[in-house]
């Protein structure tokens, strides 16, 4: 057992939720609450299992760790090959933490088709973890797509009034990107076959390939598009507000917390190392789009009168910053970007959660329906305030560290002005978030129905508290995370640099 855990930790992590979902299928419909609890239990167990990764992770090691590899479809060279580096590690932890949080919240709020909800959620977790650990392009693609289905159901069945439109948009948008990536993946594998004579989709093998000129550009674009849509990068972001807004709170938490990150992760893991030259050539565009995202997202967020939409657009803004960091491609900016992904997952997750708390009581997300409720729901207010501060990057909380590293890293890159432009985010975010806080929690308490609002429940409080604690923890001891990123980021940069040299050589 011990050995099994040791040798197949990743596989267990990936497939445990799926197994849980399978067991849930056997639950009779009647046992709704039990189903929820079971799903929660599984996700908590999952979280516990993922902790060993955290401390057994070798900080110094450059390559992938916890490797597992088996033949899967030998004639096509598709292998079940998994492993993680620091980048994947932190995102995996983020996933395994956010999932129970989301489920814990849903525990008291999802009432219809509970069993289905739990199943979808667990499958979703499998999909996310799978695509985080996959080191084989085909395997990655499988998980990447499989993720869509449960999310489609989560939005479509348990979502808000415009859920169908949102679900469709989400699915088609993402598909549109990934189908092109699918062709690109095939093409790469074929090229590898013609070059070496054997089929392989394994990342290490494909890393060795070098493409040139327009081929590389096209392939890169195919990949980049898929990931850019997921991130999302302006102007491909319009699925996000709808999806986030219509999804049930739990879904929003996962969407914002993890799914978006997979876009950046995919870019770092695949697009960059596979097509270093092209990505270098397009880095300026990426940075510019990132800057646009930061400013644009912030502006549009300010204009919203739906709380969830506002938070959704704030995600656009925050991930714009992450994109800047990736585009700058310095050690600092990359570490910052990855850390910032975690931070965004925590703070935005918390924001969605607390908005959900209000929504469940008042059944509206209209900002104007609230106002002055700090008196009636002090605890919620306090938590929301902390989440807000974390999201607008107050030093001492997590958000600041990521932002600062990204910006300082970008400043030291050739593209200094991105930092200048991106840093305006600190002003803009303060503007729209504090306006939101004021309009929702402060000002006179006018609406009668708000006077009887009940404050946050223990289960919700627990869920939120987990996030708040992590915010403070990362804010005070960011090194715990950064230490795990350093080696991997440098390794990534080396891979890219090496390939660039290789492709320069005739």
């Amino acid at each position: 057992m011990e050995r099994l855990l040791a040798d197949h930790l990743l596989s267990i992590l990936v497939f445990l939720p799926a197994a849980g979902a399978g067991l849930l299928l056997l639950f009779p419909r009647a046992l709704a609450r039990e189903a929820k609890l079971f799903a929660l239990l599984v996700s908590v167990l999952e979280c516990a299992l993922s902790l060993p990764l955290w401390w057994r992770f070798d900080l110094a090691a450059r390559g992938f760790q916890f490797r597992e590899r088996m033949e899967w479809i030998p004639p096509l060279g598709i292998s079940y090959s998994v492993g993680i580096d620091g980048i994947a590690l932190v995102l995996i932890l983020l996933t395994t933490i956010l999932t129970p949080v989301a489920l814990l919240f849903s525990l008291s709020h999802v009432e219809k088709q509970v069993r289905g909800f739990s199943i979808a959620f667990l499958l979703l977790e499998t999909g996310m973890l799978g695509s985080l650990v996959a080191l084989d392009l085909a395997l990655f693609y499988v998980f990447w797509e499989v993720m869509l289905v449960p999310m489609y159901f989560i939005i479509g069945i348990w979502g808000g009034p415009r859920r169908i439109y949102a679900a469709m948009k989400f699915f088609l948008f993402t598909m549109a990107g990934s189908l092109l990536m699918f062709l690109a993946i095939l093409y790469i594998a074929i090229r590898h076959h013609t070059a070496t004579g054997q089929w392989s989709f394994a990342l290490e093998d494909l890393y060795r390939m070098t493409f040139t000129g327009s081929t590389e550009t096209l392939l890169f674009l195919a990949f980049a598009l898929a990931f850019a849509i997921k991130v999302p990068v302006f102007p491909l972001h319009t699925w996000l507000p709808d999806a986030h807004t219509e999804a049930p709170t739990g879904g929003s938490i996962i969407l914002a917390g993890v799914l978006l990150k997979l876009g950046v992760y995919g870019y770092l893991r695949f697009a960059l190392p596979l097509f270093p030259d092209a990505s270098l050539r397009f880095a300026p565009w990426l940075g510019v789009l990132g800057v646009i995202g930061v400013v644009y997202g912030a502006f549009v967020a300010y204009a919203q009168h739906d709380m969830k939409r506002l938070v959704a657009y704030s995600s656009v803004s925050h991930l714009g910053l992450v994109v800047i960091g990736v585009g700058a491609f310095t050690t600092l900016s990359l570490q910052g970007a990855i850390l910032q992904m975690v931070n965004h997952g925590l703070s935005t997750g918390a924001l969605f959660l607390l908005v959900g708390v209000l929504y469940e009581r008042r059944h509206t997300r209209e900002i104007d329906a609230y106002g002055g409720i700090a008196v009636v729901v002090p605890v919620t207010t306090a938590l929301f305030l902390i989440a807000t501060l974390s999201s607008i990057g107050l030093p001492g909380l997590n958000g600041f560290v990521g932002e600062f590293l990204i910006l300082v890293g970008t400043w030291t890159s050739p593209h200094r002005w991105w930092a200048v432009a991106g840093a305006t985010g600190v002003i803009l975010s303060a503007i729209y978030m504090l306006t939101l806080v004021q309009r929702v929690f402060w000002n006179p308490l006018v609406h009668e129905e708000n006077k009887s609002l009940s404050d946050i429940r223990p289960s919700e409080l627990l869920a939120a508290a987990v996030l708040v604690v992590l915010m403070i923890w990362i804010g005070v001891r960011p090194n715990d995370v950064l230490d795990r990123l350093g080696a991997s980021v440098e390794a990534l940069q080396e891979t890219v640099a090496a390939k660039q040299i290789a492709s320069r050589a005739p």
Binding site: K169, L172, P235, T238, P241, Y296, F299, V300, A301, Y302, A303, Q304, T330, T331, L332, Q335, G336, G372, A374, V375, P378, A382, L389, L394, P395, G396, F400, V401, F404, L405, L407, V408, G409, W411, T412, A419, V420, A423, T424, V426, I427, A430, I431, L434, T435, Q438, F441, W442, N443, P444, L445, V476, P478, N479, L482, D483, L485, G486, V489, E490
Partner: protein, 644 residues
């Protein structure tokens, strides 16, 4: 001997306790924890300061742990004790402590335990942030405190969050500060890019060691840093938040918006004096901004009727003085004014609070008058502080202000202009201070009957701090006697001079003016101040304000303009606030909804439409099917064989 990190951590603990338990455990517990924390940290602070004074006063750096380490970037959590931080530490803790005590009395009427707890929690949190700011050894850690105090001011301004203007004022304060902090951030990026570090010791050493290498980059950096200072210390054009900040409880105004936080900008500039000295044009800029702000705010103060508003603008004006001093290179003098100002301005604000208390929360000086007899202690202390700020010897304000004017006078270039403006401002200061003195305490009571009925002196918990601060406003300045009283008269100068480190290749610029000139300057400034006071008393105490009324009538437009604070807020509203909102809406409605989603939905719709039309090719008539079949076949054959 207490470790430095403990000093900020004590109030933090107080904050945590009050935040988590305060609501449940009631007011007495809260006050105990809150004031206790403040007192303890004060003790702890002086437990460090006094030995420091006795010892050789060399800089102490106490690292605690590594905070952020990524790649080439590394910042520790480390604290620094040197004359400058010792100075700040001393009065921040002490004044802070006093104001905590004062608050007990002032907030007694706070309806709910929750609110009371919130208040003291915030105050403690503020102390924590301020002390971090002061003791930090690196720019980044200072920024933590920097934004931290911003947060507390935001929270405390918006303490009465159920009043829209308070909430809005809080937000305004935070946002405007953020604009400054944006500059500060860029400055830090620049510093890191240039020096590869954010630690004071390293940066200042490097900069001082080879000025030629760094000075080109530094002007931009210092400009950015100063932007931060402008925000925090409410300099033109970023001062607009401070007047609104008066929406907060008065102790807050006293502590944060007069004595401590707002001077953080000056502290920062003084802290970075090495860098600034390497960027002369920025120094000039600082001086100009300070000078202008001093005059500008002073003018506005003339026509305000809200007691706290007057004090607020006066604060802005005094901060301008401090920057003027820094700008002309007299950093120590600037800090000297920070110190004295902390005493008398805090005192003034607390008095205002006490007045407010008596006037049942009315602050309009037009409703006051003749309070002298009703609240004697408040009156006395207020008077002392007013004299001090007006620069009447031998009170604290006189020495610091005079020193500033002197150093402006001796400064090369625009020095004389600065001096002149400073002098004018001094006159204005004296005038508006005694305008409110007379309006408040002299003449007959103009308020409503039941206000009059309520009039009463505040409890000792409030008056005691007043007395202490008044006393300090008197003696506070004696630590920095001008040179005319002998070479070593200026202990303060001597104490603080180490922070103005010598720069390689630059002579320690110190050209003292002749004693004669110095006497003359003093005389002039005193004369100006005195005349200001006299005029104010003449017009408002004796003349019942008829003269100013006539003056105002003579040019109502101008008067209205001044009374409306030159309508700067309105201007900003037109220039920034509205356009911002408009842009936001437009981007959303046009770019997002109309263009992007428009294109997507349109294409989707077109495909569906195509389907809807094409399905009617399926007429249900077999002959059509046969026909399509044949046409398809014929076309195929034409295409493939047709060529043959």
């Amino acid at each position: 001997m207490t470790p430095l990190w403990l000093i900020p951590v004590i109030p933090l603990a107080g904050f945590v306790l009050n935040a988590l338990l305060g609501t449940r455990l009631g007011k007495s517990f809260v006050s105990l924890v809150g004031v206790g924390a403040a007192g303890l940290t004060t003790l702890a602070a002086f437990g460090r300061i006094l030995p420091f004074l006795r010892a050789d006063r060399s800089t102490v750096v106490e690292p605690v742990a590594s905070w952020i380490a990524a790649g080439s970037f590394s910042v520790d959590i480390a604290f620094r004790l040197d004359p400058l931080s010792a100075l700040m530490l001393s009065f921040v803790t002490f004044v802070g402590f006093l104001i905590h005590i004062y608050s007990i009395g002032y907030m007694r009427h706070e309806a709910t335990d929750a609110g009371y707890a919130r208040f003291f929690a915030y105050l403690n949190l503020f102390l924590f942030a301020m002390l971090t700011l002061v003791l930090a050894e690196s720019f980044l850690l200072m920024f933590v405190g920097w934004e931290g105090v911003g947060l507390c001011s935001y929270l405390l301004i918006g303490y009465y969050f159920d009043r829209e203007y308070a909430a809005a004022a809080g937000r305004k304060a935070f946002v405007v500060n953020r604009i400054g902090d944006y500059g500060f951030l860029l400055g830090m990026f620049g510093l890191f890019a240039v020096f590869g570090s954010l630690n004071y010791s390293e940066i200042f050493l490097m900069a001082a060691a080879e000025p030629a290498r760094f000075s080109p980059a530094l002007s931009a950096i210092c400009l950015c840093l100063f932007a931060g200072a402008m925000g925090k210390s409410a300099q033109f054009p970023l001062y607009v938040w401070l007047p609104d900040a008066m929406a907060g409880p008065t102790p807050v105004s006293a502590l944060i918006h007069a004595a401590t936080m707002v001077t953080a900008g000056v502290y920062m500039v003084a802290r970075c004096n090495v860098l600034f000295r390497l960027a002369p044009e920025v120094m000039l800029f600082v001086a100009v901004i300070g000078c202008f702000t001093a005059l500008f705010a002073g003018t506005i103060a003339l026509a305000q009727n809200d007691l706290k508003k007057v004090l607020a603008y006066s604060t802005i004006s005094q901060l301008g003085y401090m920057f003027l001093a820094c700008g002309v290179g007299a950093f120590t003098v600037g800090m000297f004014h920070v110190l004295t100002h902390a005493f008398f301005k805090a005192c003034l604000f607390l008095c205002a609070g006490s007045v407010m208390h008596a006037m049942s929360d009315d602050l309009d000086v037009r409703h006051m008058g003749g309070l002298k007899s009703k609240i004697p202690i408040t009156y006395a202390t207020f008077l002392v502080a007013a004299l001090a700020i007006s620069g009447i010897p031998p009170l604290a304000g006189f020495f610091s202000k005079d020193a500033i004017l002197a150093s402006a006078f001796e400064a090369p270039g625009l020095g004389k202009v600065f001096w002149a403006v400073g002098l004018l401002t001094a006159g204005l200061t004296a005038f508006y201070m005694f305008r409110i003195v007379s309006l408040t305490f002299y003449g007959r009571f103009r308020g409503s009957a039941e206000q009059e009925h309520h009039l009463h002196e505040s409890p000792p918990s409030m008056t005691m701090p007043l007395v202490v601060l008044a006393f300090l406003s008197v003696v506070g300045g004696w630590v920095g006697l001008p040179a005319v009283f002998g070479e070593n008269a200026n202990l303060f100068e001597k104490f603080l001079s180490p922070i103005v480190a010598p720069i390689a290749g630059q002579p320690a610029a110190h050209h003292a003016v002749s004693h004669a000139t110095e006497w003359l300057l003093m005389a002039v400034s005193v004369a100006v101040a005195a005349s200001g006071i006299f005029l104010a008393l003449e017009w408002y105490a004796k003349g019942e304000g008829r003269v100013p009324a006539r003056l105002a009538a003579s040019d109502p437009g101008l008067y209205a303009l001044v009374a409306d604070k030159f309508r700067v807020d309105e201007l900003y509203d037109v220039l920034f606030v509205r356009p911002f909102a408009w842009t936001a809406r437009t981007l959303w409605k046009v770019v997002d909804v109309l263009i992007i989603d428009g294109i997507l939905n349109a294409s989707a719709f077109l495909v569906e439409l195509a389907g809807d039309f094409l399905r009617f090719l399926q007429t249900g008539n077999v002959r059509n099917y046969a026909l399509t079949f044949l046409i398809g076949l014929t076309a195929l054959v034409l295409f493939v064989v047709g060529a043959v």
